[in-house]
């Protein structure tokens, strides 16, 4: 609590107050085990409750071979299929007895296994998780059966036209990098999953290794306790040797186009630019995050013009995103009338061109920084939220302190940085345009 209060100090300039120093007002206590497993403890005042996360730095980015896209996600499913000591049913019985909220999820850069529950059951959590991370054992039949659940997940997602558009945009925007496929994978690979049992064993052997993982505990707990449990349950875990060679994406030379015909949803425009890979020392990503606030937030001129005054759009937004390698940043606009697509695209490009030449107002810049910092504080008020946030940064850099490093950069961004970054990234040659309209084709310049 003392740390928390001291991190929020009154500022004499402009805004009433701004969080200073480390954005996360709780200590991030790290312990690197001999087998390279990183163990992170964040004591947090949540009486009786702790979040227990394991972050595996393997996601769809690591799926470099043909025919096995979607495997990181599929493997997340397989991790619930049991070991010799804890069969699938026994694992579930133990999980149920813990009374925790437990699940897992996968994205481009990582797979996260998470539990939140009674801190008194933390040792049991360590025991069952360490067992499956080291001793996972499933039958070929279980493997084939689980593939159907993945297909079921794809089937549910397919109902959403935007998820189909995103799938096409990734496939078109990237020529070589594995961000070309979504985390779900290509559908033909999903259908073929039951035939890839041998590959699944290889996948586990490659990626579910201590050097690739972080154990993270946030809540009503001390570091000593967590480290002792980590030593006891993960101490014998053997390091691996595999390193995926991720294809490097060649520079894009011209604008690419993707169109989806669908009369059942409002017309939609997505402008996707190639962005930078994650860094907690380079200012580009933070500047792009601020550009989101400056150009696209609900107080921005563009939003007020297109959404509020002219009412051409139902919504507009920008995901500057954070990915380990250079990924896609997406500006999206849901329209009322498909005939406005060119106009909307031109207005967006005009706004982006504007910040390429005109220095942003310092007050505006300061307000966006304030929004980002207080937004962070507002979001991180419980163990799960803190663990989720740290998981993102661990997956990106391997180091949870990246969260503090990243947020410390916000104060350093100048109007000149905004101009430089806008010129660097918002170019038509690195653009992929996605559209949805009722028409078979969509012509857009």
């Amino acid at each position: 609590m003392i740390i928390l209060l001291s991190s929020l100090v009154l500022s004499s300039s402009g805004l009433k107050s701004q969080p200073k120093d480390k954005i996360l007002p709780y200590p991030i206590l790290q312990y690197k085990m001999q087998n390279s497993l990183n163990v992170v403890t964040v004591p947090f005042d949540s009486p009786g409750i702790a979040a227990f996360f394991i972050i595996v730095r393997a996601g769809s980015r690591n799926e470099v071979e043909k025919g096995v896209t979607g495997f990181a996600h599929f493997f997340e499913h397989m991790m619930f299929r049991g070991t010799e000591k804890y069969s699938k049913d026994k694992y579930e019985d133990v999980l149920k007895s813990i009374g925790a909220s437990a699940n897992a999820n996968t994205s481009d850069d990582r797979t996260v296994f998470h539990m939140v529950g009674n801190v008194d059951k933390l040792e049991l959590m360590f025991e069952i998780e360490s067992d499956r991370f080291q001793n996972l054992k499933y039958s070929e039949h279980d493997f084939k059966t689980e593939a159907g659940a993945v297909k079921g997940e794809y089937t549910k997602n397919y109902a959403e036209p935007l998820s189909r558009l995103d799938e096409s945009i990734s496939n078109t925007a990237f020529a070589a990098h594995t961000y070309k496929h979504t985390t779900m994978g290509f559908f033909e690979d999903i259908v073929d999953m039951p035939n890839q049992y041998q590959y699944s064993l290889k996948f586990f052997d490659r990626f579910y290794r201590p050097e690739n993982c972080t154990v993270l505990v946030v809540g009503d707990i001390t570091q000593d306790k967590v480290n002792a449990l980590a030593d006891k349950y993960f101490g014998k875990w053997k390091k691996g040797t595999y390193e995926a060679e991720i294809p490097v994406e060649p520079p894009q030379a011209e604008t690419k186009f993707v169109h989806l015909q669908n009369a059942d949803v409002p017309p939609y425009l997505a402008l996707c630019f190639k962005g930078p890979g994650f860094s907690d020392s380079d200012i580009d990503l933070v500047a792009l995050n601020l550009i989101e606030g400056i150009v696209f937030s609900s107080k921005s001129d563009l939003y007020q013009k297109l959404v509020i005054n002219e009412r051409k759009l139902r919504r507009i937004g920008f995901y500057s995103g954070m990915s380990r390698d250079p990924g896609l940043m997406e500006i999206y606009a849901q329209m009322k009338d498909k005939n406005d697509i060119q106009y909307v695209k031109d207005e967006i490009m005009n706004a982006l061109n504007g910040i390429k030449t005109n220095p942003v107002d310092k007050k505006m810049l300061s307000e966006v920084v304030s929004n980002r910092k207080y937004g962070f504080i507002m979001r991180t008020d419980n163990p799960s939220a803190i663990a989720n946030t740290l998981s993102s940064f661990i997956s990106l850099s391997g180091n949870p302190e990246s969260v503090n490093n990243y947020y410390s950069l916000f104060d350093k961004v100048t109007p000149e940085d905004i101009i430089r970054v806008a010129n660097k990234y918002f170019n038509e040659t690195s653009l992929t345009i996605g559209t949805i309209t009722a028409d078979e084709t969509c012509v857009i310049k």
Binding site: D45, S101, E140, H141, T145, G152, E153, K156, P194, R314
Partner: protein, 516 residues
């Protein structure tokens, strides 16, 4: 650590104050918190929508949060709000509307005039109205049918289950009703239903008594219209199993929901017994439930299968049940996530080239058969003990944030309880196996229910024919999966395939005709 816990228990004070201004106030004072959460719950909800103006409560509330005030335009509000990273939203359900405001404690006094303006002096500007109404219109015209087939199926289930009652329509309304709403309708609805006598104030976090008094005093300026107390909605109990197949183009699977009215809510102590039964049958997004185990884990049919004894908001995105949708009329339901259709299975597996339907009929039978078994046989002692132990810990996770803790306390008041989570904990501790099995027999049955299936046009008529005539519906596995399937599973498949359902009606409805 123990000392710290004692301190916290002293600092977190839960107080009900219903004397001052005749307002009901729920307090959760957390002096160490960095933020303040304010919830304003109005006892109105979509059941207050006049006939032909369905969606009016939602549009009124949405205009309050997405419009300006007499003092500030929407743009000016956004400009003030932005650097604070403060936010607000509204959730309208059948019987309540809840505005939630969250703000860093440092900005509370700067933020408060915005809150006050939005509630007490909303602008109800014509341009804001057109914008907000247009966005809701596109949701009822297109969004509901074209985003998530599961959510679509769930809303359709309520539409048919509550036919002819104020619960029937989506909170957002339907095509014709939203079209007919005028700005004057909104202004009148605000005066009649966003009144001080229908308001419950909730506040959590780091605030002062002085601030709370100001809030209470200002909310006393809300409209003061006489309250028309709504009657409890009592839906007609279905006669037999009534299946609505909603046929749409380009569906990739069949999304099923099924349910029947159930005359019990959180107010009733028996609810704890049903919580155990329901958790055992199909705990939301958990792999422990019987339905999940049979359909997903054993047979690989879909992404998940769950059951419910009350409304669960945004089940696709929430892992834990959010507060804020208390209801006095309730129903039991089962959610079968999209299963495969014949068109897709035929494409994927040559051995299935002659099937006429996908997995929907089989899934329907299996789910109802599991409820049937539970009603007939009850839970075992071991399953009861395991499930009760799980729930006793699990329900405490519903309130991990100040906002969710406050929300659950406010919902508790709706059900005439003080603290639902704590009280359920005590009731769970006292439960016996007989309590649970008696509650199952009392409230659950399998012969009368509504079923909604959102599916592809290519699947609809054969599926309707199969269900209507109780035709055998053998499970169609790919050879790859079937080869390793245990004998007892295949045997059970045979029993499920011929399990007779009390089908009374099967109807195919064109997706374009729904929610008009």
């Amino acid at each position: 650590m123990k000392i710290l816990k004692v301190l916290i228990s002293i600092l977190i004070l839960v107080v009900i104050n219903s004397n001052l201004y005749s307002q009901q106030v729920v307090e959760l004072n957390i002096p160490k918190s960095e933020k303040v959460v304010i919830k304003l719950m109005f006892r109105n909800g979509s059941i207050c929508d006049p006939e032909g103006k369905e969606g009016l409560t939602n549009l009124t509330a949405s205009l309050i949060t997405s419009g300006g005030t007499k003092e500030l335009t929407y743009k000016e509000i956004q400009e003030k709000l932005f650097p604070m990273a403060a936010g607000y939203n509204v959730n309208v359900d059948k019987e309540v509307t809840i505005f939630t405001f969250q703000v860093p404690k440092f900005f509370l006094n700067d933020f408060y005039p915005l809150l006050k303006g939005l509630l007490i002096t909303p602008a109800f500007d014509e341009k804001d109205f057109e914008r907000v109404k247009s966005n809701i219109q596109v949701y009822v015209d297109q969004g509901i049918r074209a985003s998530s087939d599961e959510e679509y199926s769930k809303k359709a289930l309520e539409y048919y289950l509550f036919g002819g009652t104020p619960y029937q329509n989506m909170v957002q309304g339907k095509t014709a009703s939203v079209q007919s709403i005028t700005l004057d309708d909104v202004k009148n609805h605000y005066k009649n239903y966003f009144t001080k006598s229908l308001l419950m104030i909730g506040i959590a976090g780091n605030y002062t008594e002085e601030f709370l008094n100001t809030l209470k005093s200002d909310m006393n300026s809300l409209p003061d219209a006489p309250v028309a107390v709504s009657q409890k909605v009592t839906p007609k109990f279905p006669d037999g199993i009534d299946v609505k197949i909603i046929s749409k183009d380009e569906a990739f699977g069949s999304a099923l929901f099924m349910g029947f009215p159930m005359d019990i809510t959180r107010s009733n102590d028996e609810f704890a017994a049903l919580m155990v039964a329901n958790s055992y049958l199909g705990e939301h997004r958990k792999s422990y439930g019987v339905l999940y185990n049979k359909l997903r884990e054993t047979r690989s049919m879909n992404y998940g299968d769950y059951s419910y004894i009350e409304w669960y908001d945004e089940g696709g995105s929430n892992m834990l049940p959010p507060p804020g949708t208390p209801r006095s009329s309730n129903y039991f339901s089962i959610w079968i996530r999209p299963v495969q259709i014949a068109k897709q299975l035929k494409k994927q597996y040559s051995e299935l080239s002659d099937i006429k339907i996908g997995h929907a009929h089989y899934a329907l039978r299996l789910a109802i058969r599991e409820v049937d078994k539970l009603v007939k046989d009850g839970m075992s002692k071991e399953d009861f003990e395991e499930t009760r132990e799980f729930l006793s810990s699990y329900i405490k996770l519903y309130t991990q944030t100040p906002a969710s803790q406050l929300g659950y306390l406010m919902d508790s008041r709706f059900y005439n309880r003080n603290d639902y989570i704590a009280e359920m904990g005590k009731l769970l501790a006292k439960l016996t196996l007989d309590d649970v099995n008696n509650a199952i027999k009392k409230y659950w049955q399998v012969n009368n229910m509504i079923v909604t299936i959102v599916t592809d046009a290519s699947e609809a008529s054969e599926l309707a024919n199969s269900i209507k005539n109780n035709l055998d519906s053998p499970m169609s596995y790919s050879n790859l999966v079937k080869a390793g399937m245990p004998k007892e599973v295949l045997q059970e498949d045979d029993e499920v395939a011929t399990y007779k359902l009390n089908i009374k009606n099967v109807e195919i409805i064109n997706s374009k005709e729904t929610f008009k």
